[in-house]
C-alpha cells in the first residue's frame, strides 16, 4: 500500500504538516524497516545497537525496537546488571572523586538493558543542570542522578517538585538559604526560564514574587528543610493569579502555565530529532497535546517522538551533531569495546562533555556548539588514546579475535563494517578511497585496523547522527 503521507528528506520543517510529522511511521517499499533504520533508532533513542541485537530487532516489528530501548523483550537480565552497577557504585561513592562517579554512569550507558532510561537521565541532567564543582559533595550528586533516573520517564510535575527540594540543585543555585527579608531570586528565575517555561513567558515581577514563595526553603545537614520563621507568608501574585502562598503552590502554578507542555516538547525534539531549526509552537502542538492528555507523563511523549514519521523516515538522518558521549559510547557499543572508564570520562571532559559538570545552569548547548577546532582535534586524539590504552578490549578479547568473530579479514571489509555500524550519513566512494589509502601504513602503536577507526574520526560524517 502506498503511503502518500511521506516526508521528503530535503523538506524544511516549515513545509511539513505537524500532524503527519508526529504520526506513527510505517514501513513501505521506499522506506523499508531495515538494519540501517534500526541502527538510526537505537542511536537516537539510546547509545547505538549492539551487534547481536541488530538481526533480531530488524526481523521484528518497529514497536519491538522501541520497546527494546525501554528495556523490554530483552534477553539481558536487568537484575544482574543492577547488581553489577551497584557494586561499582559502592566502590566509588565514598571516594569523592567525580570522575569515578562519571565512570560509573558511563558503565550504565554502555551496558544497561534500558538505554533509553540512561539517555533520558542524561537529558534531564542537562535540563536540570547542576555542577559538582560548585556543589562539592559527590554523594549529593549521585543522589540527584538517582532522582533524575527514577523520574526520567515518569510524572514531569512530580520530578519538578522533587528537583526543587534537591540539595544539590539548591546548593548549585545558591538557594541553600532564602530569607524573608531579602528573597533570593536565583532558583525562581531558573525554574521559569530554564526548567519549565522558557524565555519571554514570565516577567521580572514574577521572578520577585516567586522568590518570595521560596523563602524559608533551606538545606540543613544535606537535606531539605522548611524554615517557617524565614518564610514570607503573605500571599503572592504569579502571572496575574492572586492568592498563592507556599512554594509548592507556586510550583504547581508555574507547571500549569500554558507554555510548559510546548517548552518541554521542544526540548525533547531538539534532543532526539534535529538540532535545528527550533520548531514553532504550532509544529509542536501534537506533542504538547499528547503531553497534556497523559497528565504530563513523559513516557508516552517520548514514545510518540521516537515512533514518529519525522524520527524514522530518512528526514532525520544527519540532522543532529553527535555529542562527545554519542561519539564515544556509540562507537564502543558497536565494537563491544570496554576500556578504563575513568580515563574515558576525563577524555570526554576534554572534548566538552564533563558528566556532572555542565558548563553552566543552561546545561550543554549541543548542536553546532559541540564542534570547533579544539573539539575536532580532541575527538581524534581521544580515539587514539582509547585505542592505545592497555585496558581496552573488544568483546572481552583482543581486536584480532574480535575481527574474526565479525568475519572481517581485510581493510576494505573493515571500512564497510565500520561505516555500516557507526555512520548515519554514509561514505561515498571517494571518502572510501581516501580513507583506505590514508591507512595503508601502520604507525607506532596503531595497526591498520585501529588507524582506520582514527581516520574515520577525522571524517566529518563521523560527527553526525
Amino acid at each position: 500500500m502506498r503511503n502518500l503521507e511521506t516526508i521528503q528528506p530535503n523538506q524544511n520543517l516549515s513545509e511539513i504538516d505537524p500532524v503527519i510529522a508526529w504520526s506513527a511511521w510505517e514501513p513501505s517499499s521506499q522506506e523499508p524497516w531495515d538494519a540501517r533504520r534500526l541502527r538510526h533508532l537505537m542511536r537516537r533513542g539510546g547509545f547505538g545497537a549492539k551487534p547481536p541485537e541488530v538481526q533480531t530487532l530488524t526481523n521484528g516489528p518497529v514497536s519491538n525496537a522501541v520497546d527494546a530501548l525501554f528495556g523490554k523483550h530483552t534477553a539481558q537480565s536487568s537484575e544482574a546488571f543492577e547488581q553489577e552497577s551497584a557494586q561499582i557504585a559502592s566502590g566509588v561513592r565514598s571516594g569523592g572523586n567525580i570522575e569515578s562517579i562519571a565512570a560509573w554512569w558511563l558503565h550504565r550507558m554502555l551496558h544497561s538493558p534500558s538505554p533509553l532510561i540512561e539517555k533520558m537521565t542524561l537529558f534531564w541532567h542537562g535540563h536540570f543542570a547542576t555542577g559538582a564543582d560548585k556543589v562539592k559533595d559527590t554523594e549529593l550528586m549521585v543522589q540527584q542522578n538517582q532522582l533524575l533516573r527514577e523520574h526520567a520517564l515518569g510524572d514531569f510535575r512530580k520530578m519538578v517538585h522533587e528537583v526543587s527540594k534537591d540539595p544539590a540543585m539548591l546548593l548549585y543555585l545558591d538557594s541553600a538559604t532564602n530569607r524573608k527579608t531579602h528573597p533570593n531570586e536565583n532558583y525562581a528565575r531558573e525554574l521559569m526560564e530554564l526548567f519549565c517555561l522558557g524565555e519571554g513567558n514570565y516577567t521580572e515581577q514574577d521572578v520577585q514574587q516567586l522568590a518570595r514563595c521560596f523563602t524559608g526553603w533551606e538545606i540543613r545537614r544535606k537535606s531539605f528543610r522548611f524554615n517557617p520563621y524565614q518564610h514570607d507568608s503573605l500571599t503572592k501574585k504569579l502571572f496575574g493569579i492572586e492568592g498563592i502562598e507556599s512554594g509548592e503552590q507556586a510550583i504547581d502554578t508555574v507547571l500549569a502555565h500554558r507554555s510548559m507542555p510546548t517548552f518541554i516538547a521542544g526540548k525533547l525534539v531538539r534532543f532526539f530529532v534535529c538540532d535545528e531549526p527550533n520548531p514553532t509552537s504550532e509544529f509542536l502542538e501534537p506533542l504538547a497535546e499528547e503531553f497534556r492528555k497523559s497528565d504530563f507523563s513523559i513516557e508516552p511523549l517520548v514514545r510518540k517522538i521516537l515512533s514518529s514519521k519525522l524520527m524514522l523516515s530518512n528526514w532525520s538522518i544527519g540532522k543532529k551533531v553527535r555529542s562527545p558521549i554519542d561519539f564515544m559510547i556509540e562507537s564502543m557499543r558497536s565494537l563491544q569495546m570496554t576500556t578504563n572508564l575513568d580515563r574515558l570520562s576525563k577524555g570526554l571532559e576534554g572534548i566538552g562533555q564533563a558528566l556532572f559538570n555542565p558548563p553552566n545552569v543552561k546545561g550543554w548547548d549541543g548542536g553546532r556548539s559541540w564542534i570547533n577546532s579544539s573539539t575536532l582535534i580532541g575527538r581524534s586524539n581521544l580515539m587514539v588514546d582509547m585505542l592505545k590504552d592497555p585496558a581496552t578490549r573488544f568483546g572481552r578479547g583482543d581486536l584480532d579475535a574480535w575481527l574474526k568473530s565479525q568475519q572481517v579479514s581485510n581493510p576494505d571489509q573493515w571500512l564497510d563494517w565500520l561505516a555500516e555500524s557507526l555512520l548515519s550519513v554514509q561514505l561515498d566512494s571517494s571518502d572510501k578511497q581516501r580513507l583506505l589509502s590514508a591507512t595503508e601504513k601502520s604507525e607506532v602503536g596503531l595497526d591498520r585496523w585501529r588507524k582506520t577507526l582514527v581516520a574515520l574520526s577525522q571524517n566529518p560524517k563521523m560527527h553526525l547522527s
Binding site: 570547533n372 582535534i377 586524539n381 591507512t439 566529518p460
Partner: protein, 417 residues
C-alpha cells in the same frame, strides 16, 4: 619605541592605493577614496584587540567604588569595601585586589568607563550576554555577533584567522556569523594531532570533496558546517605545529585559568600570527552568595593576568599595538541580599588597558540616589564603546559589525586621542 616588522602584509590588488586624499575629482571619487583608505588602514594596521569577558555579572559597584557616597555604605552594610582598603582615584576607589594595576594606572594605560549598559536592561545571564554579543536587543536576533560580522565585512589579508577564541567554553556568539570560521582553542598544546593521518595528501582534495558534498549531501547544512570545521581544525593544527616547535618565551604568568589563556595569546602575538582579535573569558562572577572572598579572588585573577600580559608585551615593545577591553553582561543590584551576595543588576563599568589613554576614569560617577528598579542607570550604550574601539582603534567600519550606526556616539567618547 621600536616596532618589529612582522613581514609583508598581503597588499594585493588594492586599487584604492591609486586614489590618494589629494586627488581632485567629484563626490563619488572622494567617497571611493575614503572607502578605499579605510580598507587600506584595516589591511595595513597591526593593531590587536583582546576581549576579556567576565561571565556571570561583575559587581561593578564593588570594583570601582563611590566611597564618598554615604548611600553606598547604607546599601551594603556587610559587603561594602572599607574606604581604607581602596586604591583611590579621585572620588572613586578601586577594589584592593586590583593593586597589580598600579603601574598601568600611573602610566595612564588603564581606563575605567563608567555606567555602561543599554536601555531596558535584561537580567537573564543568557539573554543579556546575547545582547552584548549580537548588539541586538530585540527578540529576533540573528545567530551572529559583532566580531563575526566584522570578519565577514573586512575579510583578512592573511591565512591566519582574524579572530581566535581561546577557551573550552562554546564559541561565543560574538564570534559567530554565517560563512565565518573562528577557531576555538582550548589550549595550544591540545591542538596537536596525536595521529597525523594524511587524508588524500593535500587540502585541495579536502576542499574539492567539500564542494561536492555541498551539492549532493542529503544532510545539507549540518554536514557542510562539520566539513568546513574539520578542514579548518586540521589547518589550525598544522599552523600551530610550526609555532609550538619553537621554545616558549612567554616567561612568568600567573598559574590561573586566565593567566594561562593570556599566556597563550601572548605566545601567538609574539610569534607573528596575524590574528587581530583574541577572545577570552573568566567565569564565576555570579556572586549571589558569599561574595567577598569569591569576588576578591576573581578580581585578583583578572588584574594579575592582565598585568603579566601587558608587561610581557612591553618587554618586546608591543604594548602600544594591543588594546585589552574587559566587560561583563551586567552589573549587580545596589543593595546586598541576605546571603552576603548581590543579585543581577544593570549598568556597570567597562575597562580598557594597553596603550596610553586620555584619562583614567571616563564618565560620571554612579548616582545611587537615582536608581531604576534598585539598579544603576546606564549612561553609555555599550555599542558606542564597541564603535569607538572598532573605528578608532581597529580601523574598521563599525556599522556593519554592530548592525547599526554608533559611529558618532563612539567618536564623542574620545577614548583614543
Amino acid at each position: 619605541m621600536k616596532r618589529r616588522n612582522f613581514g609583508q602584509l598581503g597588499i594585493g590588488a588594492c586599487a584604492g592605493l591609486a586614489i590618494g586624499s589629494g586627488h581632485p575629482g567629484g563626490w563619488l571619487q572622494t567617497l571611493a577614496g575614503e572607502l578605499a583608505s579605510q580598507e587600506d588602514r584595516w589591511l595595513h594596521s597591526d593593531r590587536i584587540l583582546v576581549v576579556i569577558q567576565l561571565t556571570g555579572g561583575n559587581d561593578g559597584l564593588n570594583t570601582v567604588v563611590p566611597y564618598r557616597d554615604e548611600l553606598y555604605a547604607k546599601a551594603r552594610p556587610k559587603l561594602g569595601i572599607p574606604t581604607s582598603d581602596l586604591i583611590k582615584i579621585g572620588d572613586m576607589g578601586l577594589h584592593p585586589s586590583l593593586k597589580q594595576l598600579d603601574g598601568l594606572l600611573s602610566e595612564h594605560r588603564f581606563m575605567t568607563i563608567q555606567g555602561v549598559g543599554y536601555s531596558a536592561p535584561n537580567r537573564s545571564h543568557f539573554e543579556s550576554m546575547d545582547i552584548w554579543h549580537s548588539c541586538h536587543t530585540k527578540k529576533d536576533r540573528t545567530q551572529s555577533g559583532w566580531l563575526g560580522r566584522m570578519i565577514s565585512q573586512q575579510g583578512s589579508s592573511s591565512s591566519d584567522s582574524p579572530v581566535i577564541h581561546l577557551g573550552s567554553e562554546p564559541l561565543p556568539l560574538a564570534c559567530q556569523e554565517k560563512g565565518v570560521q573562528v577557531p576555538s582553542l582550548a589550549s595550544l598544546e591540545q591542538m596537536r594531532l596525536k595521529s597525523k593521518i594524511r587524508q588524500g595528501g593535500d587540502s585541495d582534495l579536502q576542499s574539492k570533496h567539500m564542494e561536492s558534498d555541498r551539492g549532493r549531501s542529503e544532510a545539507g547544512s549540518l554536514l557542510d558546517f562539520v566539513s568546513t570545521s574539520t578542514v579548518a581544525a586540521l589547518e589550525v593544527s598544522q599552523r600551530l605545529e610550526t609555532i609550538l616547535v619553537q621554545p616558549d618565551a612567554t616567561g612568568d604568568f600567573p598559574k590561573t585559568g586566565l593567566g594561562e589563556k593570556l599566556r597563550a595569546v601572548s605566545r601567538l602575538i609574539l610569534s607573528g600570527v596575524k590574528t587581530r582579535v583574541y577572545y577570552v573569558t573568566l567565569d564565576g562572577f555570579d556572586t549571589h552568595a558569599n561574595q567577598p572572598q569569591v569576588h576578591a579572588n576573581l578580581l585578583r585573577e583578572w588584574s594579575e593576568a592582565l598585568s603579566a600580559f601587558l608587561v610581557r608585551l612591553e618587554q618586546s615593545g608591543q604594548q602600544d599595538r594591543v588594546l585589552v577591553m574587559t566587560f561583563s553582561e551586567f552589573g549587580r543590584r545596589v543593595s546586598e541580599n541576605a546571603s552576603l551576595g548581590t543579585d543581577h543588576g544593570a549598568a556597570a563599568p567597562m575597562f580598557l588597558a594597553g596603550p596610553r589613554l586620555p584619562r583614567i576614569i571616563h564618565g560620571q560617577n554612579p548616582d545611587l540616589s537615582d536608581l531604576e528598579d534598585g539598579d544603576l542607570k546606564y549612561q553609555i550604550d555599550f555599542r558606542s564603546v564597541y564603535a569607538a574601539v572598532l573605528d578608532g582603534w581597529m580601523h574598521t567600519d563599525s556599522r556593519k559589525a554592530l548592525d547599526g550606526d554608533y559611529q558618532a556616539l563612539g567618536q564623542a567618547l574620545e577614548l583614543f586621542a
